[in-house]
Amino acid sequence: MIEINNVYKRYKTKLGPGPWVLRGITLTIPSKVNVGLIGVNGAGKSTLLRLIGGIDHPNMGSIKRHCRLSWPMGHGGVEPDLTGRQNAKFVCRVHGFGHDLRDRLAFIQDFSELGKAFDDPVRTYSSGMRSRLQFALSLAFDFDIYISDEVTAAGDARFRNKAAQAFKDMIHRAGLIMVAHNESTLKQFCQAGILLHNGQAHWFDAIDDALTAYKDTYS
């Protein structure tokens, strides 16, 4: 369960504080529900995801995480000068799995389908290879809730299908908070929806209702 209590967020610009992106968001996200975050570009979807993930902090308000929560999948977490394997080792160790490195590394190498490139520096990867590595990394650990920012768009068509399948298996046993612009992706993975509009969040128990409300905001 994640409790978001009266959260405000704005960013600094060169001309002082910018406009409020999030204005007083109060939400409780249960553990076992798959939620889609929707809203127009710049509505604060990624901002809210980063705040939930704990890699950025609200200007006001608080966020309490009562569960094991993943890092925002598909964003950062990979150092370009290290090889895929070295990155994977680091991530395993940081998550306290230094003792069964071998199994997890085998899984990551296998799932990402990087083959020999697993031992090349990440900066030599194509963007598809890189997102495959990032996707495999986040699947290697068991979290209660995964957070993902457009992560299913990784790789070519064949890998996307495999990723979608793995994603489905994963969200049967864990919760998911995701940002996606594609309506069918949202319908495929999410039951509930959060609509971000004018810095406010609106919760919908059914993703279809959220998408309908979303269309009303810009039409």
Binding site: G53, G54, I55, D56, H57, L69, W71, P72, H75, G76, G77, V78, E79, P80, D81, L82, Q86, K89, F90, V91, R93, V94, H95, G96, G98
Partner: protein, 258 residues
């Protein structure tokens, strides 16, 4: 052990291994240059001092005087520089909540101390082939002074990294600051050769105090310059680390954001 402490320790462990990889194998022979840089400085300076000019400095053997001072100074400089850039080089890893800005800074300082210990042992053993005694007369005093110097390097790095992230121009100022430190800290020019009142100005620099103390620990009959104080070194170390930690606490978000 609480889980918060265990998390922190696993993060430090992972960061130290990652940094060691970077420092030793980043480019071809990176580990060689780690050793070669101080060795070259020592060779060059001791050639000028021992062969051309004199045999002793303030009642200490000139070669050992340079070796000891140079190694201690390199410990400070490398720790300071590595810690200064710790946050920049690990930006990708702040995607993980459990990695905080202070973690890579500490990991780098610990790694640097470890690597400089190895470098110092190799260079000291090499010096022993020139009929020099490499065991200090007062090892505890040497350790205390070196520890103070290392802590000051960590503190300096913490403060410097926040400054240059908040004020980009500070990058140039800090570089300009580092350069004369080599000259005014008594690494190659004996402070005893500098007249008053300039000497007392130079003694505001805690590195000068620490280097004199390391040498005093090494050579029992060494004549330090007047006013050398261990307390002064540690006052700077503690003050700079406290200030650095305060700045990290206050500006943690600005440090990890781009």
């Amino acid at each position: 052990m609480t889980s918060a402490l265990r998390n922190t320790l696993t993060v430090w462990y992972a960061l130290i291994l990652r940094e060691a990889l970077d420092r030793l194998f980043d480019m071809r022979g990176a580990w060689f240059w780690l050793l070669a840089e101080p060795a070259m400085h020592i060779l060059f300076m001791s050639f000028i001092r021992v062969v051309i000019r004199m045999r002793t400095v303030a009642n200490a053997d000139a070669l050992m005087w340079i070796v000891v001072g140079m190694l201690a100074f390199f410990l400070f400089r490398r720790t300071a520089v590595q810690v200064t850039h710790a946050v920049d080089s690990n930006r990708a890893f702040f995607a993980f909540r459990q990695v905080q800005p202070f973690d890579p800074a500490l990991a780098r300082a610990v790694l640097e101390a470890f690597l400089m210990a190895i470098v110092a042992i190799i260079i000291l053993v090499a010096t022993s082939f020139f009929d020099r005694q490499i065991i200090p007369d007062d090892p505890l005093l040497v350790l205390a002074a070196v520890l103070g110097l290392w802590l000051f390097g960590l503190g300096y790095g913490l403060v410097a990294s926040v400054l240059q992230n908040l004020i980009p121009e500070m990058k140039h100022v800090l570089k300009i600051l580092m350069m004369p430190l080599y000259l005014i800290s008594g690494v190659i020019i004996p402070l005893s050769s500098i007249p008053q009142p300039y000497l007392s100005w130079l003694m505001y620099n805690p590195i000068a105090h620490a280097l004199e103390l390391v040498r005093l620990g090494y050579f029992e009959h060494y004549h330090t310059v007047p006013g050398v104080s261990m307390g002064y070194v540690y006052a700077w170390s503690v003050a700079s680390i406290c200030l650095g930690l305060l700045l990290y606490r206050r500006f943690a978000i600005q440090l990890t954001m781009r």
